[in-house]
């Protein structure tokens, strides 16, 4: 056995320790045999400690499984070895040929390609958290839908005003009742569009309820503090829960207030008090002179909530009670 000399070194060390610590209490010979057995097993593992990626495919080649199945199994094994840094670097294709794994260079490339594709797909899937991505994209779609609705409605209103210049300002209708009226009027040139705006609004309602549901599931603590929609927008802005959890409260507070933050940094104007969290009614409806305080306190609690959401993944009643107390307190004049 090639590693035997290393063993004896280990044994002497263990021997010394044991004889110093527990001399007389344990039969040394028994102890030594136990240690040797242990080392033996480790060595058997150690033999296949570091391997080239294609050597892992060799074992699969012996399996009578289908080609696709064996690629999948080999990929899994390679992934495991790679994550434990147990793969040898700098593969040489001639080696793989000599070992009888592939017959020539062409087959080598075709094998590494299959393995790489399968590795990439599996890593891609691992990296994406489907629910989290769904929430992020849903909230982006929601905001885009809102934007589209309001832009289209505005253009419809422009058209209406251009056609009814004589109407007195007092007669100007609310934009929604205007769209309603056009949607009912079959002969109106914008009838079809108005109906579509209605439909778009219905879609918006569906998406928004989906967002609420996902946010309540993925960000339970944040949703409880500042509402599911605001939480989801914060998440969408940052990109992932892991990054959100690592974010300082001060950054959370001004997330979405980029232009005024940079104006502050470059020209020394007042710093922004709030970004996306302004949409939370507790901030929006707070007295003007208190908004800064409320958003600061809210952001601090949100930063903690984001961490609980990411690392624990469940609502913490005790934390939520204390946090909401603090936020309400911040909204009251001292």
């Amino acid at each position: 056995m090639h590693g035997s000399s290393d063993h004896s070194g280990d044994l002497v060390l263990i021997w010394d320790i044991t004889s110093n610590l527990i001399s007389g209490l344990v039969d040394k010979r028994v102890f030594v045999t136990v240690v040797v057995k242990d080392q033996d097993e480790k060595d058997r593992d150690g033999k296949q400690y570091r391997q080239f990626w294609y050597e892992l495919c060799l074992e699969e080649k012996k399996n009578p499984a289908s080609l696709a199945g064996s690629i999948r199994n080999a990929t899994k094994k390679i992934q495991e070895y790679r994550d434990d840094s147990k793969l040898l670097p700098f593969p040489v294709w001639q080696d793989a040929v000599n070992a009888g794994i592939v017959s020539d260079r062409k087959r080598y490339i075709s094998l590494i390609r299959e393995i790489s594709i399968s590795l990439a797909i599996s890593d891609l899937e691992k990296r994406s958290n489907k629910d989290e991505m769904a929430l992020i994209h849903l909230v982006r779609i929601l905001d885009e839908t809102d934007k589209s609705i309001s832009r289209l409605s505005e253009k419809v209103e422009d058209y209406y005003i251009a056609q009814h210049l004589a109407e007195l300002p007092g007669d100007e209708r609310n934009i929604w009742s205007l769209i309603d009226a056009i949607a009912r009027d079959r002969d109106h040139p914008l009838n079809h569009l108005a109906k579509n705006i209605h439909r778009l609004h219905d879609s918006r309602t569906c998406i928004s309820s989906d967002v609420r549901e996902y946010a309540g599931k993925i960000l339970p603590n944040m949703s409880a503090l500042c509402g599911p929609l605001v939480s989801a927008r914060l998440l969408a802005r940052v990109g992932s829960r892991s990054q959100l959890a690592r974010m300082p409260a001060a950054s959370l507070q001004v997330l979405g207030a980029g232009p005024s933050l940079f104006a502050h940094l470059s020209s020394g104007s007042d710093p922004p008090k709030h970004g996306i969290i302004y949409q939370y009614k507790g901030v929006r409806h707070a007295k003007r002179q208190l908004r800064g305080r409320v958003s600061r306190v809210l952001a601090c609690q949100l930063a903690t909530a984001a961490r609980i959401d990411y690392y624990r993944g469940a609502a913490d009643e005790e934390f939520l009670r204390k946090a909401s107390e603090k936020i309400t307190l911040a909204g009251k004049l001292a």
Binding site: W53, L87, F90, P91, I109, R113, A120, S128
Partner: protein, 204 residues
């Protein structure tokens, strides 16, 4: 490489949406920095070569390289373009997609062979560092092509300063005969550095 009427052409499989000239795909210098390099300075030795391409994105440049090269290892770390890259690899037998961060070559060290050409096309602040870390893959005498997006390295320093800095960096890392090629004609704010891995350094 194949040229016709001042156009660079590519002999590979034509897919829907490709621009075709005389029955071959045209490799547009405005869309690919490698093509721009061919137009402005000269062709890199990609014919039948083994190439490592960092920052493959959706793989349009990689698809052209794969027409000429023997094999292209394409590294991309952003999930969305990586999907397209995987699709490309399904269609081309010599494209090997690697979904890893090029900053950590040890992750794909066990999969990639030694290569003849290393192309770095990642526009990040540490773009020169990324190239240097990946030099372990480059055979002695192999070519390094480093595309620098100068804006990615901050706006405080002048272009000449930045280029000189990176030049020093890669020379210390063992790259010799470095040529600096201005790609402004097709890609504004981009510079290509093209050198070869010194033979002595690897012998030592």
């Amino acid at each position: 490489m194949i040229w016709k009427d001042g156009r660079l052409l590519s002999p590979g499989k034509i897919l829907p949406g490709d621009r075709v000239y005389h029955g071959m795909r045209t490799w547009d210098p405005a869309h690919s920095k490698v093509a721009a390099l061919c137009h402005i300075h000269g062709e890199p030795p990609v014919k039948d070569a083994c190439i490592l391409y960092l920052g493959a994105a959706a793989g349009s440049t990689v698809s052209f390289l794969s027409d000429y090269a023997e094999v292209v290892y394409a590294v991309e770390f952003s999930p969305r373009p990586a999907r397209d890259l995987i699709r490309l690899a399904h269609q081309r037998s010599n494209v090997i997609p690697i979904f890893e961060d090029a900053r950590y070559p040890e992750r794909y060290l066990p999969l990639v062979e030694m290569v003849d050409v290393l192309i770095q096309d990642i526009a990040q602040r540490d773009q020169a560092d990324i190239a240097i870390r990946n030099l372990t893959f480059l055979k002695p005498g192999g070519h390094l092509i480093l595309f620098l997006k100068l804006l990615s390295m901050g706006i405080e320093k002048k272009r000449e300063e930045l280029t000189a800095e990176v030049l020093m960096q890669i020379k210390t890392a063992g790259i010799i005969d470095v040529k600096v090629i201005n790609l402004d004609k097709y890609h504004s704010g981009h510079v290509a550095l093209w050198g070869t891995q010194s033979v002595q350094k690897n012998d030592a």
